[in-house]
Symmetry: C2
Subunit: 275 residues, 2 copies
């Protein structure tokens, strides 16, 4: 079942990864990058699937250019938010539509044991061949609604990155002595610090895109800020018992996962120290 797949933004890292994985399985994969739009009509006419794989802030504009796809052609995207790209794809294309979010970075060696979140848009039956293709690469598909996906991403990406960003800004503005912090960090604290520092070795634009991508991100971050302020009043009131109560409540809420996370992260530290 050799098929033609067009990847828009095909020269990006993630796009090239998809190109490689799908080519391995015998697909004809065509790259359509920003200087190739003169070839678009020709490529689209033969396409069985068109995948939008451009930076998040360009996604909606690029989707708008995907009219005139064959009616059986799948239109899909790889953006890390799903509701608005899915809506845009459904508006522009009358055939099968699929939202995808690979839960991994472009540096993985292949797709095996990697998760791809899948949001069905339209005509899921006609996307089955493509989903099977992704499974054949070794990827695990996790089907979820776009709204549930985006709500989770607000926590996982926007809030987490923003609070890490703020923590880094704080360290800098307090003129923390980084070398002393490193020397005084036990392995677990060193890992905490590494998780902050690693953010700043990466592309600011990418993180700006993620954090600025939706209003609900900003509302969520504001609610976090407000809660932090409320919790600080525990400190100001020397309310240790209140702190302990809240702590235990959250522990109950995490349930068995807290212990599992403790074991998992401790095992990770152990294995690193032994290597």
């Amino acid at each position: 079942m050799q098929k033609n797949v067009v990847i828009i933004g095909g020269e990006g890292k993630l796009a090239r990864l998809f190109n490689r994985e799908l080519s391995k399985l015998g697909m004809s994969v065509f790259s359509l990058d920003k200087n190739d739009w003169h070839k678009a009509d020709e490529l689209f006419a033969q396409a069985d699937a068109v995948i939008v794989a451009v930076p998040i802030h360009l996604t909606l504009d690029v989707i708008a250019r995907c009219h005139q796809l064959p009616v059986e052609c799948i239109l899909a995207d790889l953006t890390s938010i799903k509701s608005s790209p899915l809506r845009a794809m459904l508006d522009i294309h009358s055939g099968p539509v699929l939202g995808l979010h690979p839960m991994f970075g472009p540096d993985v060696s292949d797709f095996s044991h990697q998760t791809i979140a899948v949001c069905d848009g339209r005509e899921p039956d006609k996307t089955l061949w493509f989903k099977q293709l992704l499974k054949n690469t070794g990827a695990e598909l996790y089907t979820i609604s776009a709204s549930e996906h985006d709500e989770s991403m607000t926590f996982i990406q926007a809030l987490r990155h923003f609070s890490t960003f703020a923590y880094g800004v704080h360290l800098q503005q307090e003129q923390a002595d980084l070398s002393s912090l490193i020397k005084l960090s036990s392995p677990i604290y060193r890992l905490e610090l590494a998780m902050v520092g690693r953010l700043f070795a990466q592309d600011p634009e990418l993180y700006a895109d993620i954090i600025f991508s939706s209003k609900s991100n900003i509302s969520m971050i504001k609610r976090y800020h407000q809660r932090l302020g409320e919790l600080i009043s525990l400190l100001e009131n020397k309310d240790k018992a209140g702190f302990i109560n809240q702590f235990s409540d959250v522990g109950d809420w995490f349930g068995d996962d807290a212990q599992r996370f403790l074991k998992e992260s401790s095992a990770m530290l152990d294995s690193t120290q032994k290597s």
Copy 2:
């Protein structure tokens, strides 16, 4: 050079670890736990070193009971803050005084390659034998002033733990769907989540003690809260360029450490996934 070492709070986990390590090197180690104070005078009279190894909120009270040590005896503590215990030890004892902070938890198998922060209090020459003993266990000693140590700890422990605590409270109060968060987390996000969750598998009292231990912790946390609020205004003003500028500034401040942290944490993730 067999010596008598008394460990107050000797039945605690960390105390027992010190007992084991020092006994291995031929020291006579005596445990003085809360029900043993009737033996204190006798043990103190023979002691070459007395180590206070009790929970942080009991440290100052216990130090106050360490009068009448032999004048050559070292008085040391293992508390995770150093200025106030050091001051109290210098007040109560006229001989050699040493502040120690083991940069590891009680679950390490031994002291090799573990760091112990050392703050000299009085008569450092007379503490050399004890420092050598610690080195003989395989530990690495990192000498630092009490005030510098405590300032670093405010970042490393109090602020970090408090913001993680607040993050957990936030997840709970937003009724985040934890199972969906886990499924949608790529390895690096899963680790971030594990770092939050693991906190709540641990003793609330211990973290309350650390966070409530000093006024400067609370001031620092309040400054962090304020900065977070200022940074949120970047989001409200849709000031992506401002965000990117701040991000780059912090990246410059982290310097080569940012890249190093990125590599280190990525290698850690890789090794875990392969195992």
